[in-house]
């Protein structure tokens, strides 16, 4: 196997705050092959956006970062420390959730794209505007020659997001990070944007990291999915494996708790009890253990390492779902009426097989 394009090792990020140190990331590891699309799925506070911001060198100065980020053989954190220009926005670039935050409201769309081209690639003003029109056409903006002279507020949310994507693509990046690119738009528009990203990735051989809270969005588009919880990747595998044969109880429970369109109405949902954990001074235990139906005493005394087949299907759990160990744990908890963390359980059918 060749060197991965991006390799993240033991990435840890802490934010000192007045309330204590927030453990935003706790040892994140993943590789991304060239041309691959990786989905990072998690809820708020899981660390998915912090991961993206760390890669993009967008964290506030107060953040304490440890670990290695190697992109095409270069140490990204060293590039950041050296104040390297023309890396972010050129080779590695990002599309944000809300297009209005990445667009300047008082500048024409074309100018904004042209500026990127002039700054990073040294194009003349005329060349840059011509390229901007071309880019807007590529991202499917109708009448691109007219749109370059429009201001962001004159466009709909979906078109604005296309402008942002055009801007991100201007310098031919080899890695595009899309952070919840469709959360702010409607489903009919979402489909167009995701199709567009898919097409562009194929045409240009780009790699992509798609960050989303929506497992469904990731399922349809990604080669691999990493599920994050409390600053860690708790499970990572090929997309279909994750949906058909999940190992981490969190993934398993999440898939069961989401209403599905093919279920009849009033199908009883299986919620995940409790709520996501605090990230300030977390105790040494599996962060999911208070909500986990499989939790055993060992889950409460140590943080599980990554198990499974490296690079294929990895999961950080002592008693993974859909395995004998998991079934035993669940059976023991059902028999006791509660988990080792004191969570009452009764008649839970899921995950045990």
């Amino acid at each position: 196997m060749s060197e991965p394009q991006l390799s993240v090792r033991d990435l840890t990020v802490r934010f000192p705050t007045t309330r204590g140190v927030v453990q935003a990331l706790n040892g994140v590891n993943f590789d991304l092959e060239k041309g691959q699309m990786l989905g990072i799925v998690g809820e708020s506070g899981s660390g998915k956006s912090v991961t993206a911001k760390t890669l993009m060198n967008l964290l506030p100065r107060t953040a304490e970062i440890e670990g290695d980020v190697i992109f095409e053989g270069r140490d990204v954190r060293k590039l950041a420390a050296d104040g390297t220009q023309h890396f972010w926005g050129v080779e590695m670039t990002m599309v944000f959730q809300d297009p209005m935050t990445s667009l300047n409201p008082v500048k024409k769309c074309g100018e904004q794209i042209a500026e990127t081209l002039r700054y990073h690639l040294g194009r003349t003003k005329k060349e840059a505007i011509e390229e901007a029109v071309d880019l807007l056409g590529q991202v499917g903006l109708p009448e691109p020659a007219k749109r370059v002279d429009q201001y962001p507020h004159e466009l709909s949310g979906g078109l604005r997001q296309r402008v942002v994507i055009a801007m991100a693509l201007a310098c031919q990046p080899s890695l595009l990070i899309a952070d919840e690119p469709t959360t702010a738009v409607d489903v009919t528009v979402q489909r167009h944007i995701l199709n567009l990203l898919d097409r562009l990735r194929e045409e240009r051989g780009m790699s992509m990291i798609l960050i989303t809270h929506d497992l469904g969005v990731a399922r349809g588009r990604c080669d691999d999915i990493a599920v994050m919880y409390a600053g860690r990747i708790v499970e990572r595998s090929a997309t279909e494996t994750l949906f058909s044969d999940s190992r981490h109880p969190y993934t398993d429970a999440l898939l069961r708790s989401i209403p599905r369109i093919d279920q009849p109405s009033h199908t009883r949902l299986e919620p995940i009890p409790g709520r996501p954990p605090e990230l300030i001074n977390p105790p040494v235990r599996c962060a999911y253990s208070p909500r986990c139906r499989f939790a055993q005493p060992d889950c409460l005394s140590a943080i599980p390492d990554v198990h499974g087949v490296r690079g294929m299907h990895e999961f950080a759990c002592f008693h993974p779902a859909n395995t004998d160990r998991g079934r035993e744990a669940l059976a023991a908890n059902v028999a006791a009426g509660k988990t080792a963390a004191g969570l009452p359980i009764a008649g839970y059918a899921g995950g045990g097989g």
Partner: protein, 296 residues
């Protein structure tokens, strides 16, 4: 009722983990020093009649511009009056003016601003226009007009004059804050449960608007103490007795500055410390009550 029956207990477990009460916000030592200073000033000024102070108006207690010393801690002014005693008696006037003016501003501007921000429509148009006129009218000329139109410039007249000037800024702050909160869903929720407008204004909006207004009020007292000084320079402050403004005016004539700088310096210093304390305390109060909307 299997899964749902568990939910309450689980949530309680999670709630106990919430560390919010572990972190107490602190006002800081600076705030308490400010408060201590303000309390000291207020107490001394209140107790002025019973304190063993020299008569502040008595001429010739010391020699002209006599320096601070054992006979008079702050020295004596051009007429030989005791500066220490005058600063304390003057504080009564300055503080009263600042306080009454701010309270007048709060009591009139606050409700008007809140009603404008809550009801909007014609109420807002009328009130906002009135505020606009008050603000556009040069403050100094307004003060001159009011002060000159009365026979004696009593303490009450000066305080209320400055109070009129405070209405518009306080009212506009109240209006702006009310608008922000009135759009929040909790106000709609109150209407949905059937709360009347007065109840929404007092129970839902007032507690949210009060904190920024309170912080502004402390700031306002500071501004108004200085404003009284400004009026004094125009010869328009309270006619009877000493005020900080009048003392600074008298002490800053060229002759006085040269021969007895202490005459102006002491009231300036005391006023400076008081204004600083008010500003600092106001800022801290606002920070302290700035609620985090979420803990997570």
């Amino acid at each position: 009722m299997t899964a749902d029956a568990q939910i309450p207990e689980i949530d309680l477990v999670a709630l106990e983990e919430a560390p919010d009460d572990a972190v107490k916000k602190s006002l800081g030592i600076g705030f308490w020093i400010s408060v201590a200073w303000l309390v000291l000033i207020v107490v001394i000024s209140l107790l002025a009649p019973v304190l063993p102070l020299a008569d502040p108006e008595k001429i010739g207690l010391g020699s002209k511009f006599q320096s601070p010393g054992g006979e008079g801690w702050f020295g004596f002014d051009s007429n030989g009056r005791d500066v220490f005693s005058r600063v304390i008696w003057g504080s009564r006037v300055s503080l009263t003016v600042g306080f009454i003016a701010v309270v007048a501003g709060l009591l009139i501007g606050g409700p008007l601003g809140m009603m404008a921000g809550y009801f909007r429509g014609w109420v807002d148009r009328v009130v906002s226009f009135a505020f606009l006129i008050l603000l556009s009218f040069p403050a100094l000329i307004l003060a001159l007009l009011i002060v000159n139109s009365v026979e004696t410039r009593s303490l009450r007249v000066v305080a209320l004059t400055l109070g009129v000037l405070a209405i518009a800024p306080v009212g506009r702050l109240a209006r702006a804050n009310t608008i922000v909160f009135a759009e929040r869903e909790f106000v709609q929720a109150a209407r949905v449960v059937g709360a009347k407008n007065t109840r929404i204004l007092t129970r839902e909006l007032l507690p949210n608007v009060l904190i920024p207004m309170g912080a502004l009020a402390l700031l306002g007292v500071a501004i108004l103490i200085v404003a009284e000084g400004g009026l004094a320079f125009l010869g328009l402050s309270v006619e009877e007795g000493a005020t900080w403004g009048k003392m600074i005016l008298e002490g800053s004539s060229p002759g006085a500055l040269k021969d007895g700088p202490h005459v102006a310096m002491f009231p300036i210093g005391i006023m400076f410390l008081t204004v600083l304390a008010l500003n600092y305390a106001g800022d801290k109060v606002r920070e302290f009550f700035d609620v985090r909307e979420t803990a997570f």
